[in-house]
Symmetry: C2
Subunit: 124 residues, 2 copies
């Protein structure tokens, strides 16, 4: 596949479709949390900084629906539910790590560019 054909515009566009899932506020953080291993619901609440139970619930459902994670219910008392990455989820860790690495490495430059932009366009 040639580089200039990386983005396909067939319906639905894969990159658009994938971005719609992981481009939200929490998905990447949840996936990262699960990269170390299985976690329970409240474990994720504690592990993912500042996420509410409600947003975690929604995020987990979407990720499960798209096959990134697997939900296992143990009918015990009290209830136990475990979340873990599927093969799809695990394979996604690699490009995700690249993205995170880039973000960490370049965040400072972006912040500086933003400041410079504000200075240059203070005459708005």
């Amino acid at each position: 596949m040639k580089d200039d054909q990386l983005i396909s515009f067939e319906q639905p566009c894969p990159i658009r479709d994938v971005l719609d899932r992981i481009g939200d506020k929490w998905s990447l953080l949840v996936l990262h949390s699960l990269s170390e291993g299985t976690l329970r619901f409240n474990g994720l609440v504690r592990n993912v900084e500042d996420i509410s139970k409600q947003m975690l619930s929604k995020t987990l459902k979407r990720l499960e629906k798209d096959g990134f994670i697997r939900r296992t219910l143990y009918a015990e008392v009290p209830l136990r539910v475990e979340y873990e990455l599927t093969d799809i989820g695990k394979s996604f860790l690699k490009p995700m790590a690249e993205l995170i690495r880039w973000a960490n490495a370049n965040h400072r430059d972006i912040v500086l560019a933003r400041q410079q932009y504000r200075l240059t366009n203070s005459n708005r």
Copy 2:
């Protein structure tokens, strides 16, 4: 840097900050369009499938503000404006290509997982 420290929760979290910029609907497609070289406004409108002038304008402004692209105005008649990637923008192409490659490679599996999920949970 250890892998489990890839995501920093310092304020502001770099990955959150970067995702907020490129996680929207058009940024990635615009950056990809510019990866081949300089383009003018209407060139981008033609190049980026289905984007409206208004969304292109907003997207370009954000990308410029964050230092991903550079806008050059030529005061001719008629007006000419050129957009091109900055060094930050160019360096971002690498992790972006990884992401796109993954999306293209795994999109089919995601669609299948989604169908399977619907079948399994038809008793909702």
